[in-house]
């Protein structure tokens, strides 16, 4: 599964004796996938729908975001409910350094404000977001599971409240109105904000963005895979599985956890900067708790810790609700003769139902990692086996007794 993305992944994760046949299949698969990714926007724009091109762009951003969260939640097992804050940090870094906004607060900058090039802002945004990640991670190192969840949630809210209110005493974020006139991505004089004509072909701005985002998303996918298959990635998984054992065999859990927060956050920061440039406008409204939860749902629904699964989850959760938004109204019109349920409400309603149902029938996600899958199959195969049953019982007892320590009436 992993092979379909990088045929040369180390042998640690794939079965030791991978045959030339499966290798060829993997290469073929990646090539087909790459072709599909390249052709998709052309097909969409051929159908004349700019909306769907924008949705495709956003979906790519969400993939970067979800893969960042996947490092924290999926690899390291640290439940983060305030992840969108890092997205926000990246977006605001881009917005402040690449729009006229700061000129209001600091007239010394001249009437045009700052317009730094993307080469500076994007890494800077990633770094600052990573710094925020460490800032969040440092005080929470000792916290476990759900305590961590609520603190990260609080952190996300704090960031949002500051964005909402830092229009005074100094107007940094422009409060709830948000920041407008943000520069598009520029390569020298070449702007992604305008459509380009090559001879007889006109490439719309959204399609330019699509290819840029796709390239960056591929980079982030590769980075995720390489991290997962490295010493660092194994240390993350060790912490997820058993923190005490991880410490006992020499893993510096503090540093490794902070690294997970920082890496995850910097992915979010990159996505945030790109989001600001694509939209040209940002406001705190885009960075609420619901957005954090939405990204978390993508990760868990797809299959935590499994990169292709996370991508699938992201595509489904960005695509399906949008599809509903567009077709729910007309479909009701056609079937029932009138719009019975507001399409927006129906969209959210079905989103909720989907979350519940998927968790009922595929609690490990739609496309869990091959080990997880193997485990489910093995369980199904060997269900009457006593040994397996005993194993499960042990697990339950363990969880129960761990929990019992937190429970006192």
């Amino acid at each position: 599964m992993m092979l379909s993305f990088t045929p040369d992944t180390s042998s640690a994760r794939s079965p030791a004796h991978s045959s030339a046949h499966s290798r060829r299949n993997a290469i073929l698969g990646s090539a087909l996938l790459a072709l599909a990714v390249l052709v998709l926007p052309i097909l969409i724009s051929a159908s004349g729908s700019m909306t769907w091109l924008r949705i495709a762009d956003i979906a790519l951003l969400y993939i970067m975001l979800a893969l960042g969260l996947n490092i924290v939640v999926g690899f390291a097992g640290l439940l983060d409910l305030g992840y969108i804050a890092f997205f926000a940090v990246g977006a605001y870094v881009w917005a402040l350094l690449s729009s006229p906004h700061l000129a209001q607060a600091f007239p010394a900058l001249g009437p045009e404000g700052l317009h730094w090039p993307m080469w500076v802002i994007l890494p800077l945004g990633a770094c600052i977001a990573g710094l925020f990640g460490v800032l969040l991670g440092a005080p929470t190192l000792r916290l476990r599971g759900d305590y961590l969840a609520i603190v990260t949630l609080g952190f996300g809210e704090i960031v949002r409240i500051f964005m909402n209110n830092l229009n005074q005493p100094i107007n940094l974020t422009n409060g709830p109105q948000g920041i407008t006139r943000i520069n598009p991505v520029m390569f020298g004089q070449f702007s992604f904000g305008k459509s380009v004509t090559f001879g007889s072909i006109t490439v719309p701005s959204l399609m330019l963005y699509y290819y840029l985002f796709a390239a960056l998303a591929v980079l982030i996918v590769v980075a995720s895979i390489r991290l997962q298959d490295s010493r660092i990635g194994r240390a993350w998984e060790a912490i997820r599985e058993d923190e005490i054992a991880a410490r006992a065999i020499g893993i510096n859990t503090r540093n490794i956890k902070l690294l997970a927060f920082a890496m995850g956050a910097s992915f979010g920061g990159v996505a945030g900067g790109l989001f600001a440039s694509l939209q040209g406008f940002i406001s705190p409204e885009s960075f609420g708790l619901m957005d954090s939860i939405c990204v978390l749902c993508m990760v868990v629904l797809g299959g935590m810790g499994h990169i292709p699964g996370v991508i699938l989850g992201t595509l489904l959760l960005t695509g399906l609700p949008e599809a509903l938004r567009h077709w729910a109204g007309p479909a009701q019109q056609a079937l029932l003769g009138k719009v019975v349920i507001d399409p927006e409400a129906l969209r959210m309603l079905l989103f909720g139902v989907a979350l519940v149902l998927v968790m009922q029938f595929r609690p490990a996600g739609l496309w869990p990692s091959s080990t997880r899958q193997r485990e489910l199959e093995e369980l199904a195969d060997t269900l009457p086996d006593d040994e397996n049953d005993n194993d499960d019982d042990d697990d339950d007892d363990d969880e129960a007794s761990q929990r019992s320590k937190e429970v006192r009436s």
Partner: protein, 368 residues
């Protein structure tokens, strides 16, 4: 020589000691009064310090200060009621019932409808309120049962995050359904008392606020009695301690869990009625932030701990009220009361840094 090794801090013994009669394995815990005192006294001293110095430090008037305390207590009582629902479920299942905030909202909406229906049909107000509250509680109990049955029970052995996602899904479903049924506008909640507020030392308190505080206190007292003194309470504590052993001891854990959900939802419904009556408004999205704050309160106090939920709720209410009253003075006008929530969360984060299991949570030694 005594055998001192049966403390919970010690790694579990591999072999059952033969001198331990089975029935004692039911971990029936009496509230540890000494410990409670140890924890509460520093808290009370801190609060006293704040109470004495805050008004002086900010050159403010005592009546405004008292007013904030009253507001904080009202808000805190409501938080505490909702927090109890979170903490009970967490205690039993180790699960954040993310949908609990929406249950509170449903409670408020049902009560509002019944009151409006009653008043339109000429019922006397007290009767309408009473019936409304009762029906809200009943509806929410049914809802709580349903949520547990459909959303959580099938996922009891699933990976840890699955129930959380399921809860988020349920939360979204409830919000959208309520919006479809009751619309997306803010609904006015009728005034339950028309009397003038009482003025005590310059602070005004309405009959409704007194009622909320008293009723919340009585309910929480009743809950404590229920948990400490009744058969059901004992079964609940046993299930919280170790579901597998509780089952072996003849406790029907499924029923205990279902009943606990219903109990928590009833408390939530009561809180929902209170909060809408207090702010004279109800809205389909009111449950989200309220639930979040209440969960924060539960964690602040030490999640899984009933007394902790009450302390955490009251504390959070007071912090919020005092912050929104004084933050502007304290920061020289730099931050306004819109930073109230920041302080609520900052306090939470600080508490957890210094006491990772909350104010009254047991310190958990790591097992090796």
């Amino acid at each position: 020589m005594c055998r001192p090794y049966a403390t919970p801090l010690h790694p579990p013994l591999l072999y059952q000691k033969p001198d331990k009669p089975g029935i004692n394995a039911l971990p029936v815990k009496r509230p540890n009064v000494v410990k409670l005192r140890e924890q509460l006294i520093p808290l009370i001293i801190d609060l006293a310090v704040v109470l004495v110095f805050l008004p002086n430090a900010t050159n403010s008037r005592m009546d405004i200060f008292l007013q904030q305390i009253v507001n904080g207590l009202v808000l805190g009582s409501i938080y505490a009621l909702v927090a109890l629902g979170y903490t009970m479920v967490y205690g039993l299942l180790g699960l954040i019932n993310f949908a609990h905030g929406e249950v509170v909202m449903v409670g408020a909406m049902v009560a509002l409808s019944v009151i409006n229906f009653g008043l339109a049909n000429g019922w006397p107000l007290p009767l309408a309120v009473l019936l409304a509250t009762a029906s809200a509680m009943l509806c929410c109990m049914a809802l709580g049962w349903l949520i547990e049955r459909v959303g959580y029970r099938p996922l009891r052995h699933a990976p840890r995050l699955a129930p959380l996602i399921s809860a988020i899904g349920i939360s979204i479903i409830l919000q959208q359904l309520m919006m479809l049924i009751w619309g997306s506008t803010y609904r006015p909640f009728p005034a339950l008392f028309n009397s003038e507020p009482h003025v005590v030392l310059g602070a005004s308190i309405t009959d409704l606020q007194i009622l909320i505080i008293v009723l919340a206190a009585a309910t929480m007292g009743g809950l404590m009695l229920l948990v400490q003194r009744t058969r059901f309470g004992r079964a609940m504590r046993a299930t919280a301690e170790n579901p597998a052993i509780a089952t072996l001891m003849g406790v029907n854990t499924n029923r205990v869990i279902a009943l606990t959900f219903m109990l928590g939802s009833a408390l939530g419904a009561l809180a929902g009625v209170m909060v809408s009556a207090n702010y004279a408004i109800a809205h389909f999205s009111m449950g989200f932030m309220l639930g979040l704050k209440a969960f924060t309160a539960a964690v602040l106090g030490g999640i899984g701990n009933l007394a902790g939920a009450v302390v955490g709720g009251l504390l959070l209410g007071l912090i919020e009220a005092l912050c929104s009253g004084y933050i502007s003075d304290l920061t020289g006008g730099m931050f306004g009361s819109n930073y109230r929530d920041v302080f609520a969360f900052l306090v939470l984060i600080l508490v957890l840094i210094f006491r990772p299991s909350g104010l009254m949570g047991e310190k958990v030694a790591e097992r090796a």
